[in-house]
Symmetry: C2
Subunit: 299 residues, 2 copies
């Protein structure tokens, strides 16, 4: 089954203890797509400015990402600049230039409206709602957001949450939106906001999944080479949605496997800057690391 | 195989969002023993003051803990007062009264010197060394410490580390002693200080085990009812050493299972104040939760 992902395609400038990279291809939709493409066809919905390098478009296309609904508009591409230090768990945002993103209204092709697997990666909840309004046959809708929208568009976000099946959030966002510090309690509270499935990402500490029927938890894949964590959450979401779309059946066994695949995909993302590692990733790499992952947590 | 544990027997006053308890039986050796007793015989080595309530001694004895080397001396029992708030991951120490602990020199019975499984729970590294000097046939030596000793007796701690097989530390201590923020790198560094096996406890986020041959990692057991985390690390260590002592063989499969048992034991500890939950714990409770734990992490 195909996936459609709405999000950002950005130019990222990132500084980490491993070095600095300027204006790399980044953004939530790019990272999501680079991971989900390993499992299924990915239709990307995003906007870039007229300054957006053609080589990035060629690159995404070469990787199999369907760019029918990647709009190019007059103005500047969305830019993000951030820095990581210490344990690399949290980025310090140095600068954000919205550019064309500030007036973005997603437009998709008629045939894309019938795609059943939908992921609303991190953008303004009003833009996310707008895309969802246009979808005709949603089977599984996933949503990511960020602290900025929790603070500034909480009402819109809560309204949107009623319409999604999987809410993917990190631990800080989960605590902030739910008002609960215990993450299982936080997940229960988020569940009460609408989504049947709650996924709480904890960075290096792994992930907690919550639904009415079961709780599932995995540690992070143990890695020493953390170069740039930017996009790890989107890479995770790409693996999760990608695996579920490929299986075509949302049941307990598939959800658990999807979370394991997602964890492994995200572990590759952090090993190099931007999309450098995930763009070279093959299904064989994923399968091999999945076996290693099992070995280091099964008893 | 029997275990000998050196540590504190204390009177703990604890405030958490669930309430306050005054002068409960606590201390690293008590918590360790309450968990390890489920697996094997536990010989406790500690000191209390003349003010120590007889009911606590009776209680420990009733639970099967061997008290031959629990010394009672003139002076006051070691007291600790702490408070937890928010996510209950870190205690704020409000007060510490060393009392008789400040002049403690462990004395053990002649036959106890031949016990092969030794755990040096958190006390001054010089006291830990002193006990170890007296042991005649160490087969497996485990060590716990705390940030205070890392800061104030680092030299003595590093010297002691060369003599132990398993170093059990929490994430903050591991980072501080190793100077590495990535926990796998921290574990590697700690390994280079001497201990063949490194166990990094991450509270609600589970645990990482490191040795030259393999890395092992488990998430925390998902619990919503966190009442009082005091002693969870010691309960963990009790389960780990207890399981290994019972099996009598230190191999990869047993180590992995020991860490799983330890995680489950610790998850019970936090569900009530002090020793309230672990003192009622049975092997059946542990086995049942172990099955539930597997279900929420195997895929």
């Amino acid at each position: 089954m195909s996936i459609i992902v709405l999000g950002t395609v950005a130019l990222d400038t990132v500084k980490t203890p491993s070095g600095k990279r300027k204006e790399m291809l980044g953004g939530s939709a790019s990272h999501f797509a680079m991971s989900a493409r390993l499992f299924t066809n990915v239709n990307l919905v995003a906007i870039v400015g007229e300054d957006f390098p053609k080589r990035h478009i060629d690159f995404l296309r070469k990787k199999g990402v369907i760019l029918t609904s990647l709009i190019k508009e007059k103005g500047k591409t969305f830019r993000w600049e951030g820095e990581y230090s210490g344990d690399l768990n949290t980025a310090l945002t140095l600068n954000t230039e919205l550019g064309v993103l500030s007036a973005f209204r997603p437009k998709i092709a008629e045939h894309q409206r019938y795609i059943e697997y939908i992921f609303l990666a991190n953008v303004d909840p009003e833009i996310q709602s707008h895309l969802l309004d246009n979808m005709r046959r949603p089977k599984l809708v996933g949503l990511d957001s960020m602290n900025y929208w929790i603070r500034h568009k909480k009402r819109q976000l809560l309204r949107l949450l009623k319409r999604v099946d999987i809410y993917v959030a990190n631990d800080a966002e989960s605590r902030e939106l739910s008002g609960e510090s215990n993450l299982i309690k936080a997940a229960k509270k988020l569940r009460s906001f609408g989504p049947e499935m709650i996924v709480i990402k904890k960075g290096e500490h792994g992930v907690i999944f919550y639904c009415d029927k079961f709780v599932f938890s995995l540690p992070g894949y143990p890695i020493t080479r953390v170069v740039d964590p930017t996009g790890a959450g989107d890479t995770f979401a790409g693996g999760l949605m990608g695996y579920l779309a490929r299986q075509g059946k949302i049941n307990e066994a598939n959800i658990k496997k999807a979370i394991a695949y997602a964890t492994v995909a995200a572990s590759f993302n952090v090993e190099d800057f931007g999309l450098s590692r995930t763009s070279r990733l093959t299904m064989q790499d994923i399968q091999e690391r999945l076996i290693a992952f099992k070995k280091c947590m099964f008893f």
